[in-house]
Symmetry: C2
Subunit: 211 residues, 2 copies
């Protein structure tokens, strides 16, 4: 095994280092976040930083890069308080990745990349029609991370749109059956294969697969 110190890694070329550090932190869920600005202009962007914060209340976080690098999603969420998170699947992953391009604010990324906005009930943020699993959120708090000018955006789930048949008897969602994707590094996308489920671990329990 090689041992790389941060002093060495810091000397690496910018994109090489960014790919390396991004990959090192592991696979991430691949999602599109849908918003509208104050004028109702839709915006869509890829995020790989969605993190589960708790299930009661159902809180989800995501990391927004510094404002200068990624202004639209966080501005729209600040303005409206409402956003959608939409799982990415192989049938539209190329379009989804293309939404990470830096389009001007006046461009509707749905139109630019060829995905279909879907408005449901009175939820003002657009869902991605092509996405098999999607949910809307109400903004709870934006936590500034001062060390690198990023933001942890925290929202509470308000609505979930998906086929009921994907939900197991214990609440487990077969994301592998839905082909929800994972992303890695700056530009790679993967599907998954179930290896095992183990059940709730207890100190005195023998380890065994439950599925």
């Amino acid at each position: 095994m090689r041992h790389f110190s941060i002093d060495t890694i810091s000397t690496w070329e910018r994109f090489y280092r960014a790919n390396f550090i991004n990959c090192l932190s592991g696979f991430k869920s691949a999602n599109l976040i849908g918003t509208v600005n104050k004028e109702g202009q839709p915006n869509l962007a890829v995020f790989s930083s969605v993190v589960h914060l708790g299930s009661d209340p159902a809180l989800i976080g995501f990391v927004n890069r510094p404002l200068a690098a990624a202004p639209h999603t966080i501005q729209n969420i600040t303005a409206t308080g409402i956003y959608t998170i939409n799982h990415i699947h192989p049938s539209f992953v190329a379009q989804a990745h293309q939404s990470s391009a830096k389009y001007p604010e006046e461009v509707n990324e749905f139109e630019a990349v060829g995905l279909t906005p879907l408005f449901i009930d009175n939820i003002i943020a657009p869902f991605v029609s092509e996405s098999i699993i999607k949910y809307s959120l109400q903004l709870v708090e934006i936590v500034p991370i001062k060390h690198n000018n990023t933001f942890l955006v925290i929202g509470e789930i308000t609505n979930v749109i998906m086929e009921e048949t994907l939900i197991g008897l214990d609440g487990f969602i077969s994301l592998d059956s839905a082909q929800s994707m994972v992303s890695l590094g700056l530009d790679a996308y993967f599907t998954t294969n179930l290896v095992a489920r183990y059940g709730y671990a207890k100190p005195d329990k023998v380890i065994k697969k439950t599925h």
Copy 2:
């Protein structure tokens, strides 16, 4: 598609709802975090909430559950400032999952589940010897998330231990070759299959696979 409101989801049984909400937020990287307490007692626990915060400085976050539910890792990091993150692979995923059991503080989870602590140079936190990709961190900040009493623990990468052959020409790490796993819900683990890499997206660029 079914439409589930949070008012409906809130009525669901606790573990069913936890599995559902955990799955909804998507696949996560499956990692073991290694620490020591002030007396040098090793601790090891599974975390599925590692998130990339930035590559320069190389900042990684993870979510620690409320203190009453998960006290040891965050206490040790607060006390020593040093921890390791170790990718989980199929060869030891059962042992890794077992480390999520609530062992008393005096139990060394490495011994309890059958994994090998590895101390490198002057890094006081143990790595997992069996892990193919692992790194150490220096604590930067613990951000309390007041809405559900969780914590975003932010660290800066200090050292990376892995085979150099896993790193591509552009800094991309073949986590699928290394069989680094993803987790889902409360207890499921997956491997991955590369679908595509797309390169850096630009507004005027035609979408195409680069790999």
